[in-house]
Symmetry: C2
Subunit: 346 residues, 2 copies
């Protein structure tokens, strides 16, 4: 069931059928109707998308590479905000949106190679990800969110180091035994509690920059980073953060400040503190990251940023014409609330 079939049935040429579907205004009203009726009669399903994309050279689809198990992307509210921002642009430009999951396995590059897309947005990934090469090779417009930077690819990333230093300072001020609650340090997502973590050893650049910022904040307050426990979680949800915080804070551990890499994690810490009867902020200061809806309600000191706008920015940078690889450093700000000790009036 192809265009020539429909053409025969309608008594026109194949090209007329093609135009009827692809640029209807180019075909006379009467002819158009005749063609559509013939198509209807034969049950012609419309132009084959593969053939069309082969011939036209474009797919009208934007690809989003998620450096995460696809499932996590929908569990993480920040990731969905980011996707929401991207989708705004897709709707504007009449584009489809294809999600390309990347798991760290060997087929990743193949998936990226084979995805039928015209441009690519990469959600935070590791530094030497072969997927980056695969994208570069295809020569599609592409942008990385969060990092790593790569020549030939755009980059949209806030200054995580500076922001972490700001929020870390808010968390650690007046503390003697601070701790950090971190995203996974590697794709294996191994949970651990470690001291003396070298920030530079983290392969995810967002995580690396934040650790660096926290370390600088500690140093700036005269605290020794080498003694700061970094609690690394496998999953980044509230329940797991709560469990980890119970272990971390239990039994006179002395920990009196926790800087967490997301609001969700920080809320888990707050709940643990509540269960342990630890007073916030006098006995324990807590900070989050993102300033999602729950942060305000909980009085959480945190970093405000708009993942939604960042998603929009990423999408525009690859979809709109004149998309030379962009470098953008979106805004962020420290939001001080009641989960930290009042510090110097900055």
């Amino acid at each position: 069931m192809t265009m020539p079939d429909v053409a025969r049935e309608a008594g026109v040429s194949a090209m007329t059928v093609s135009y009827t579907f692809g640029r209807p205004e180019r075909v006379a009203e009467a002819t158009r109707r005749r063609v559509l009726e013939a198509a209807e009669r034969l049950g012609y399903p419309g132009p084959h998308p593969g053939a069309r994309s082969l011939r036209r050279g474009r797919t009208a689809t934007l690809g989003v590479v998620l450096g995460e198990h696809l499932t996590y992307a929908f569990d993480d509210p920040q990731a969905t905000q980011f996707l929401a921002g991207i989708s705004t642009v897709c709707v504007e430009h009449e584009l489809g949106l294809t999600l390309i999951p990347v798991t760290g396995g060997p087929q990743d590059a193949a998936r990226v190679r084979e995805a039928a897309v015209d441009a690519v947005v990469l959600w935070t990934t590791v530094d030497h990800d072969p997927v980056l090469d695969a994208v570069l090779r295809r020569g599609l417009p592409a942008v990385v969110h969060g990092g790593p930077a790569r020549s030939g690819l755009g980059l949209v990333a806030i200054d995580d180091r500076a922001a972490a230093m700001a929020v870390g300072t808010a968390a650690f001020t007046g503390a003697r035994a601070p701790a950090v609650l971190s995203f996974p340090l590697d794709r294996a997502r191994r949970p651990a509690v470690r001291q003396g973590v070298d920030p530079d050893s983290a392969p995810f650049s967002v995580t690396r920059h934040r650790l660096r910022g926290y370390a600088e904040a500690a140093a700036g307050l005269g605290l020794e980073w080498g003694r700061v426990p970094v609690v690394v979680l496998a999953r980044t949800d509230r329940a797991e953060a709560e469990a980890a915080a119970l272990r971390l804070l239990g039994e006179g551990s002395g920990v009196d400040a926790v800087a967490a890499m997301s609001d969700e994690l920080a809320l888990g810490v707050l709940r643990a503190a509540d269960r342990l009867g630890i007073a916030v902020p006098s006995e324990l200061a807590v900070t989050g990251w993102d300033d999602g809806p729950a942060a305000a309600a909980a009085g959480l000191t945190t970093i405000a940023q708009s993942l939604r706008e960042q998603g929009e920015l990423c999408a525009r940078s690859v979809v709109e014409p004149g998309s030379a690889p962009t470098r953008a450093s979106p805004p962020w700000r420290l939001v001080r609330r009641t989960s930290t000790r009042p510090g110097h009036p900055a």
Copy 2:
């Protein structure tokens, strides 16, 4: 830059190049390396996805049609749960995931016709959506979540009518002046407050069935449905529900029970009651729908269902072999908490 080019460079035939990328195990180790090196040297980006899909007849991609502005899909936690369920299956089967937004406009059918996908899952849509025809026409395996039912397409939907009757009964028991907080009744998303709404007039089948169930619950308790105000919201978030509830409950309105179509909406009602100093459940009974994480914390009586499992089910039914159109009615249950008056012990 095509396969013949690479073939020439590597001194082999085009077919060998094709096999090297598509079925590497069919090619001798040494040859494979030679081909890959040649490809590298020429900067060959890998097989053209369009050409491949044209020839192979499949795209290794699952399409999800969202009967919503794409942006809403990511704002609605239940929708993201549903997508998370679908994505589990995609990862399992090594499939990509393409989102196809549908806005009610005339290009909708075209978008569906042209999407490069092997199967389709439709997220709740209206009854006589031309998109359904477009999907049927393409002859792809397809399933509708929530409805409407359509021969040739699968259907995964809980018994919304029965569930609404159960939760409506919990909400309205002991009430004299109940009200309903509803999703939009049409694609235009017009907000309104109406009495005597004919449930059958709602074009979204989920909404229709729930209204029917609420009406039956009212009737079962001797309450006159024609007098029950149905508050229709444009957007389905907590803030808007709160605003609507403030209007609905203010100034001695007498409204003493509200059945809301989602937890988010119900939470808005609870907040409004709190601000107005109305006691729950003695002066006002409130019910939600979905039993999301916030419902338990708020003591909300609600309908529990797993959108995630439903997403998984939908995806499996179209992706796994032997996918005759499925009819499935996933489980749900009424969760009684403290936002409703104690009723008969069921």
